[in-house]
Symmetry: C2
């Protein structure tokens, strides 16, 4: 069904995709944005519930409020790290939220599709897992479009709900900053910053039962 | 960074990927399996924690036990549906778990990376969201390799833990059946079965705040 070239293209995109924190202010063509959202919307979802919404944040004021919420949480978290790790931690930026021309808040509506969504009825968190799959599609699409994307996961959900008028039962799953960048690194930022190493894949594979390599 | 052809290849794969429930018994080349696992391992993860493991289940006995656990849960869930919907529901198969030459149990270790994983410290479920992103990479890779994949999400986690010797603190996030198929549908199975329709993307997009279209 797919050619060798198409397969190679997928792997190239999967391997090159990075989490980006610095952006240029250049605007993004509408077509690229719609390609990203369409890719997300074609993600898999439990019981085909399609629980996602996409809030497109472009106003300076809203972006500044989101950056404030993320920075507040970042400073609170820093208190839990020891001195060296704290310095390392504080240098990791959340300013991308202000720099990027657009931040997409991807949400998950656990009530969509009614009370007994197929599969979700058995494992409730499959709704947010579906939303994460949609986000990964979007991330790969952004990479293929020559765009940078960063997933900010420091915030109190209720701060984000308040800033974006999100109802209490809706989960703000991610804040995704999207834009162009002049530096798309070849390795994960946290790897280059000596925060974590990439693990050996073989050590993560088991056969038939847990722990059996 | 990417050519027009590479971009188109990604979208083609994203749009054609389906959740498959019927498999041929044909074995999968080792190289394809490793491509899938490598794609998963190059997914993003909060604080670069790489919380995933992959348990490769190929023994008939183990596969039959997993199918038993899924079928038991399916019959229990069916009780919650009204008559018509129940018949529709019971016809949805979980036999793929027995048919497919391999089922991959993807797990998430919430303790990996220590007590204060960057980002996870703020939103704990980002560990399973990371695992879902890895699964989506794997799903796209399977599609590109000409393989079918099905995500089974009906089971009691403790049944799966017991069958695969998974420790209590580890989350069995997904059972993924992988194999070749002689029928790769062009639409989602649940759409063809009139279970759910694909939503209009535009209705899911808001601007600046929730509900603002």
């Amino acid at each position: 069904m797919f050619s060798e070239q198409e397969k190679e293209a997928l792997y190239k995109i999967i391997y090159k995709r990075r989490d980006i924190r610095t952006f240029l202010p250049d605007p993004i063509p509408h077509e690229s944005i719609m390609n990203l959202l369409n890719a997300a919307h074609h993600g898999p979802s439990v019981g085909f519930m399609q629980p996602w919404n996409f809030i497109m944040v472009t106003q300076e004021e809203k972006k500044a409020q989101l950056a404030w919420a993320a920075d507040k949480e970042r400073r609170a978290l820093a208190i839990h790290y020891e001195r060296n790790r704290q310095d390392q931690f504080l240098s990791l930026k959340v300013e991308g939220l202000k720099q990027a021309p657009v931040t997409i808040c991807v949400t998950c509506d656990p009530t969509r599709g009614g009370a007994h969504v197929l599969g979700r009825n058995s494992i409730p968190e499959t709704d947010i897992l579906s939303t994460a799959c949609a986000i990964q599609n979007m991330w790969l699409a952004a990479c293929a479009e020559g765009l940078a994307m960063g997933w900010v996961s420091f915030y109190k959900k209720n701060d984000v709900r308040e800033i974006l008028d999100i109802p209490p039962h809706i989960e703000p799953v991610a804040l995704l900053s999207v834009g162009y960048t002049d530096h798309y690194p070849s390795n994960p930022i946290l790897e280059s910053a000596n925060w974590e190493k990439r693990r050996e894949l073989n050590a993560l594979i088991f056969h038939e039962t847990w722990g059996n390599q």
